[in-house]
């Protein structure tokens, strides 16, 4: 057994010995993945897992390092990037990803990605055009 394999076993024993807790947070994350475009809040998540919301909040943060709300926002931002790349308008991408208002979406998007959604979309189109151009150029 290598040093790394020994470390894997040691860390698993220290950090992940409570399988019930691990399965609870994994199921919560999967629920968010499958429902990010709908209204998702801590009350709903805790109800689904038959646990108190504060306990679930602590567990999720313990195992993923972020809160369910932070993960939901991350998931929605990733989805909105995908929709913008596909050519959706900012409003459409906002609502399809589960955000409530285009203005708050744009502010959040800029904070996370570093560009407003419109600029991000322009950059994506520019990159794909450059790729197409370089792919078709015969000179």
């Amino acid at each position: 057994m290598t040093f790394y394999q020994t470390e894997i076993n040691r860390i698993r024993e220290i950090c992940y010995s409570n399988d019930k807790q691990v399965q609870t947070v994994i199921a919560t994350r999967r629920f968010i993945d499958n429902n990010f475009d709908k209204e998702v809040n801590l009350d709903l998540l805790s109800h689904i897992r038959y646990t108190s919301k504060f306990h679930l909040l602590r567990l999720f943060k313990k195992y993923y390092g972020i809160t369910p709300k932070q993960y939901l926002t991350f998931r929605r931002i990733e989805a909105s990037k995908h929709y913008l790349k596909k050519g959706m308008s900012v409003s459409e991408a906002c609502y399809c990803a589960g955000f409530e208002t285009p203005s708050s979406f744009s502010t959040l998007f800029k904070n996370r990605i570093g560009l407003p959604p419109v600029e991000y979309q322009k950059e994506q189109f520019l990159q794909s055009e450059l790729k197409t151009d370089s792919g078709t150029c015969t000179h």
Binding site: T2, I8, I11, V22, I26, K131
Partner: protein
Amino acid sequence: MKVRVISIPVLDQDKALAFYTDKLGFVKKHDIPLGEGGRWLTVVAKEEQEGTEVLLEPSPHGFEPAKTYQKALFDAGIPYTQFNVDDVREEYERLVNLGVTFSVKPTAMGTVKIAVFDDTCGNNIQIVELL
């Protein structure tokens, strides 16, 4: 500052390019001669060709401490770096069928699943799936 390139030391750039493209499925991005046989050689994920580039760097050559460090990591089974995949088990089976050797078979580690393989260029590489 932005993260555009990460580097992996490789013992043979030709062999590394073949492994990282033919087996792992990366795509060559840049291949620029740097003299004396060395190249600025990068690959990217097929699905994210504008994403972070992986530089296949011949750093173990000509600098003994780099070679010593790389070998020590390899012998201890420690991954030099890791790549994300959607399904570790599926990727493990695909790579085993291509003749890739794993030192850690698909293993659940709490909220992730991991596996570790030999890139044949002096490194262990870990693949990770978020559960």
